[in-house]
């Protein structure tokens, strides 16, 4: 909302400087985005008179002008067609910077004729896009005076971001009212005295609505004015509209805009001679269309409010007028509309037609329903002043909606809710200044809400009014009271676990990424696919059209883009959501990671190797261990979803069903379709599947038994079938003597050579930990025999000798 200071002062009697006004506006909730100084950069520009204008001797389209700049007479070569002797223009001397182009003017010779400056167009001054000719100033402008002042540009414009609740501040008067309540001046009265009508309007108005949609337009005030002359507006009106960025059109149109901006009272003017019969306000009929004032044709539907004559729709209520009955320069008899349209219906109509207008913007935020007649009288007076004519009596259809119920305000709540210590008389002063009425009934105030404040619905709203005008900066800041002597942990155990998963992975050298929750449906299909319910209705691009069913595709794609930037050996992880459907329980939190390329850069000490499934498995087990998964109960099996390499992937389960994680090398086919080079090893840990952490009675760890006796190690090598799982060998060895065997490790796997086709050799190291006495050789041998027997029985292998 642009507010020229002079226009604000039409409504507010104040001496406050513009900076103080801007600061106060912001602090009452009317946030100032900018104070625009339109004279900026125009310091040296003066009013100049063109004394003579002769054709350029060497160019058809140029004119050589002798110009009186007030202090001197100088010569300018001008390309504008409207340059002529006698006119007044805006002159910039050589050395000045032209605001519209940013160029510094130089003394120049143009086709052999000296030019010492420039006569400027509106675009060059930075006023508008108008570049047809040079600016023509009014004939009474003093030659040599600063041009900015003459053009009305010395008036600063305050640009305010009006919040959607403050429809009343989409009129400059509403803003003035807030400022006066804040003590920055006095609100001036507005002259809305009735203008007596001298005849009965030839056009009648009826509201044709069923009861259930009567609020579409409950109230309509109209008036015919005959014998007007629709000329150009006077300078003061054109300057005002120009200052808020509106192009002056004709007096009648400019007057409607003037009331819209100044008083938040949108109006429409029909050319009465073009209206066929009476006006009917009704819902549009199917198939009806409206050629609108903006030159476009809109197809209407039965949810939209139109003002129609006997021909059909002539205006879209609260949104835009129609082309056919709009007033023109030739209009003589007019009909002025001042109506009330339903905010919701107006908003829906505008949105459906993708049509924004100053009227719609105001109607959808709520228009003062008690200002229709006043608005009409003010407009009538202006029309009579500027265009002449003779007004009819008012045509009124419907009625002003009844005032809303008063709201009870307990003044003490300003303190106990608003936190501010505002004396009772100040509470009353603020509310009264804002237009509220007050009835005192004991302690409680019964507050009548002004008709223009449809946003005020309860006591909290009244408290806000008082506190914002009093000043948020005057609310004393208090610390939040502690509810417990010491704070409880902010994160619940499961939340803590998620945070820990990320820190563990970062500690293992992976770099955390945060990637978008949506991906391309084509990529999703490679990772189990996105169900129909997670396809976005309005994606920002086809590359981001579904909610991701897995975190991996983004990480894999990131490996690809990093490789393109020369970083092929990426190690990335993300702890984030994946979506199996649109229900809350379909969202799962996953710690996923990828390692691409080789284990690191080439190094003089350790040469890197390509990443493989065991890198991913290591990451998975590290996360699970850190999060307290019961490591002895985890089962790893050689199965995984199809986006993993079928022979180099696995799944970690807890019990037969609960899948805690999948890991493996990513399927080369998937990488190929995503156009990313492998190898990439990846994993997904399903954090929500971890067993719930139960509150334990004690944080104490189990009793620790430390044996003073030296452990003994023995190595064994078994030849087993190629498909025997190492896990089976380890489990069998471990089970051979649970009390003595403390640990079993695989230290070599070998196939080929003399091991035999379809076989492999698996070497294990067994640690025996005696607890009661040192083991004798015979006892050690006995355990060793048990190990061999157990492994051979479980796996069908044989001890290698």
């Amino acid at each position: 909302m642009k507010v020229p200071l002079s226009w604000l002062k039409d409504h507010l009697d104040t001496d406050a400087p513009v900076d103080e006004i801007a600061r106060r506006l912001t602090m009452v909730g009317l946030e100032v985005e900018e104070v625009i100084d339109r004279s900026h950069g125009l310091a040296g520009f003066v009013v100049a008179r063109v004394l003579t204008a002769e054709p350029h001797p060497n160019a058809d389209r140029l004119t050589v002008c002798r110009v009186d700049t007030g202090s001197a007479t100088t010569q300018v070569v001008c390309g504008a067609a409207n340059a002529r002797a006698g006119m007044l223009g805006v002159f910039a001397a050589a050395g000045a910077v032209i605001p519209g182009t940013g160029m510094r003017l130089k003394k120049a010779s143009i086709r052999g004729v000296e030019s010492n400056g420039m006569l400027l167009s509106a675009r060059e001054v930075g006023l508008s896009d108008e570049h047809e000719g040079i600016i023509e100033l009014p004939g009474d402008a003093p030659v040599g005076a600063p041009a900015a002042g003459v053009m009305g540009l010395s008036d600063p414009v305050i640009d305010i971001a009006v919040t959607p609740n403050r429809g009343d501040c989409l009129g400059i008067r509403g803003i003035a009212r807030d400022l006066s309540a804040a003590g920055l001046g006095t609100l001036k009265p507005v002259d809305a005295d009735p203008v007596p009508g001298t005849f009965r309007s030839p056009i009648a108005v009826d509201l044709q609505f069923d009861a259930e949609c009567a609020d579409a337009c409950p109230y309509f005030v109209g008036r015919a004015i005959r014998g007007v002359k629709n000329a150009e507006s006077p300078g003061w009106l054109r300057d005002k509209l120009g200052a808020v960025g509106l192009r002056p059109i004709s007096a009648l149109v400019d007057i409607t805009n003037y009331l819209t901006i100044g008083l938040c009272r949108p109006l429409h003017v029909f050319d009465a001679d073009k209206v066929g019969g009476d006006l009917h306000v009704r819902l549009a009929r199917a198939g009806e269309s409206l050629p609108a004032l903006n030159g476009k044709v809109y197809e209407l539907d039965a949810g939209m409010t139109v003002i129609a004559d006997d021909h059909g729709a002539e205006a879209l209520g609260g949104v835009i007028g129609g082309e056919r009955t709009g007033c023109t320069a030739d209009s003589v008899n007019i009909f002025v509309e001042s109506a009330l349209f339903d905010p919701v219906r107006t908003a829906a109509t505008g949105r459906k037609l993708n049509l924004m207008s100053d009227a719609r913007y105001r109607f959808e935020r709520g228009i003062d329903p008690a200002f229709l007649v006043d608005g009409m009288e003010i407009a009538t007076r202006l029309i009579l002043d500027l265009c002449g004519g003779e007004p009819s009596q008012l045509v009124i259809a419907g009625a002003e909606p009844p005032p809303r119920r008063p709201i009870a305000l307990r003044p003490g709540r300003v303190g106990t809710f608003g936190g501010a210590d505002v004396p009772a008389h100040e509470v009353e002063r603020i509310l009264t200044a804002l237009g509220f009425t007050i009835d005192k009934d004991g302690e409680t105030l019964t507050v009548g809400v002004p008709s223009w404040r449809s946003d005020i619905v309860g006591e909290a709203c009244l408290i806000e009014e008082v506190v914002r005008i009093h000043g948020y900066d005057r609310i004393p800041a208090l610390p939040l009271e502690r509810t417990t002597p010491l704070p409880h942990p902010a994160r619940a155990p499961e939340q803590r676990r998620r945070a820990a998963a990320g820190r563990v992975l970062a500690g293992r050298g992976l770099v955390e990424a945060v990637t978008l929750s949506f991906i391309a449906s084509g990529d999703a299909a490679l990772f189990g696919g996105a169900p129909e319910s997670t396809h976005l209705v309005n994606p920002i691009s086809s590359e981001l059209d579904v909610m991701r069913p897995s975190v991996l595709p983004n990480l894999i794609a990131a490996c690809g883009s990093n490789a393109d930037r020369g970083a092929a050996d990426a190690a990335l992880f993300e702890v984030g959501p994946q979506y199996a459907g649109d229900e809350p329980q379909d969202q799962a939190t996953v710690a996923a990671g990828v390692r691409a390329g080789r284990t690191g850069p080439r190094n003089w000490a350790d040469s890197p190797r390509p990443v493989d499934v065991f890198d991913a498995k290591g990451d998975v087990l590290a996360v699970l261990a850190a999060l307290g998964a019961p490591s002895e109960s985890l089962r790893v099996s050689a199965d995984a979803p199809p986006w993993y390499h079928p022979g180099r992937s696995g799944t970690v389960r807890l019990g037969p069903k609960t899948v805690l994680a999948c890991f493996g090398e990513i399927h080369p086919g998937v990488l190929g379709k995503m156009d990313v080079k492998g190898p990439i090893a990846g994993f997904e840990v399903f954090l929500d599947h971890l067993p719930k952490l139960r509150a334990r009675k004690s944080a104490a760890k189990p009793h620790l038994e430390l044996s003073p006796l030296q452990p003994v190690e023995r190595d064994f090598a078994f030849v087993v079938d190629e498909d025997v799982a190492a896990d089976a060998v380890l489990a069998a060895a471990r089970g051979a003597d649970k009390s003595l065997i403390a640990e079993v490790r695989v230290f070599d796997v070998f196939s080929g050579g003399n091991v035999g086709a379809g076989k492999k050799s698996l070497a294990i190291n067994v640690t025996l930990q005696p607890t009661e006495k040192t083991l004798t050789d015979a006892e050690i041998d006995a355990v060793a025999r048990k190990v061999v027997a157990s492994v051979e029985k479980a796996t069908g292998g044989t001890l290698r000798t």
Binding site: G29, E31, P164, R166, V344, A347, E364, G415, G418, G419, A460, I463, E464, Y472, D473, I475, A477, L478, P479, L480, E481, T483, P487, A490, R491, A492, G502, R503, V504, A506, G507, G509, L510, V511, E512, A513, V514, T515, L516, S517, S533, L536, V537, I540, L544, M547, L555, A558, N562, A571, L572, G576, P577, E583, D586, Q587, N603, A605, D606, P608
Partner: protein, 359 residues
């Protein structure tokens, strides 16, 4: 006799000193003290002496033996040290060689910032609550006092999904505020929660990302008022930015789900072309807040005549950008390793109020 012993001693000590390896020194030792050594032989000769002579000669021999043994031992240590020194010199490496490859893992600045925010509000008694990213428009809008045709609803650039939930359209949540509704529906006051999470708006340009993060806050009890709201958020801003006297300004604003509503600005300066947070001539908006609208409480079945409180919402990327000098919102989600390593944090840098929020 004593002269003989002195001569022997001189000779052995000279040999000891002359020994230049452990092997030659061992030979000197064997020749002097070994079973057939010179001093051993003299000791054996004592038995043939008369008691008087034996006593004095024995004492002298013992002195000699001890002196020689000590000298040999000392020489042995010297030689062993020299040998070790020589070996160590042979083992010399170029310590300017780089170390073996180590992982350079990093935590994303969004994670770090959320951890910082939780650390601060955790100290004030808030606990973390969460809700789904795929919401319905009742939780995301209607319950928050944003009816369907409300202009504020149109400004949200909502992503829609095809499904319905209880007659309400599925949407991607446009803010973390629906978790207020879920929490108040499930728990009874007093409540004190913060809600970090992903949020989505259908907008993509230099200053907008279709996904970003917010932290919502909610306090509901019987006494908390706007003074507490100010105190809580001023302390947060000062702790988060690490500026003890950071100017914090509350301006009236509008959100459908709070009344009164405020926007919060922090002081900053752009003097000399460099942006800095703290005392200065300018203000920067960083979050929105207000007293929970009574209608919102009632929509959640909470008696608005008895309970009241405040809510706030802040943009995680925004405060991360301000604190850590990150220039472009979109770079957060581009997974560029160079960026992640530069702006990321070491795994063990876990923010806490006792350990410190800032490196």
């Amino acid at each position: 006799m004593q002269d003989d012993l002195d001569t022997i001693k001189t000779r052995i000590l000279a040999a000891t000193a002359a020994a230049n390896s452990l092997e030659s020194l061992e030979r000197v030792r064997v020749e002097a003290l070994g079973r057939k050594g010179r001093i051993t032989a003299l000791m054996k000769g004592l038995g043939a002496m008369d008691p008087e002579t034996r006593k004095s000669a024995g004492a002298a021999l013992n002195v000699l033996k001890d002196d020689v043994a000590a000298a040999i031992e000392a020489r042995q240590e010297d030689l062993a040290g020299a040998t070790l020194d020589a070996r160590l010199m042979e083992e010399k490496v170029d310590v300017t060689l780089p170390v073996r490859a180590e992982g350079r893992g990093r935590v994303h600045p969004i994670t770090q910032t959320i951890d910082e925010v939780i650390a601060i509000f955790g100290e004030m008694g808030f606990t973390v609550a969460e809700g789904p990213d795929i919401e319905d428009d009742w939780h995301n809008f209607t319950a928050l006092n944003i009816p369907p045709e409300h202009p504020a609803r149109q400004e949200h650039d909502t992503f829609y999904l095809p499904g319905m939930a209880g007659g309400h359209r599925r949407v991607l949540r446009t803010h973390t505020s629906p978790v207020q509704i879920r929490t108040m529906g499930e728990q009874k006051p007093p409540l004190r929660i913060i809600v970090p999470g992903r949020t989505y708006r259908c907008d993509y340009d230099a200053t907008h990302s279709p996904m970003f993060h917010q932290v919502e806050g909610l306090v509901v009890d019987e006494t908390t008022h706007m003074g507490h709201l100010k105190g809580c958020l001023i302390e947060f801003c000062r702790a988060y930015f690490g500026v003890e006297d950071l100017p914090v300004r509350f301006r009236p604003s509008y959100f459908p789900f709070t009344e009164p509503s405020a926007e919060v600005d922090i002081g900053c300066t752009r003097a000399g072309g460099a942006f800095r947070i703290g005392h200065g001539d300018d203000w920067l908006e960083i979050l929105g807040c207000g007293m929970v609208h009574p209608k919102v409480l009632e929509n959640c079945g909470i008696d608005a005549a008895r309970y009241q409180g405040f809510a706030f919402g802040l943009g995680v990327e925004r405060i991360a950008m301000l604190k850590y000098g990150i220039g472009d919102l979109r770079t957060f989600f581009e997974s560029d390793l160079r960026w992640l390593r530069h702006y990321g944090f070491p795994a063990l840098h876990i923010p806490s109020m006792v350990g410190g929020l800032n490196p």
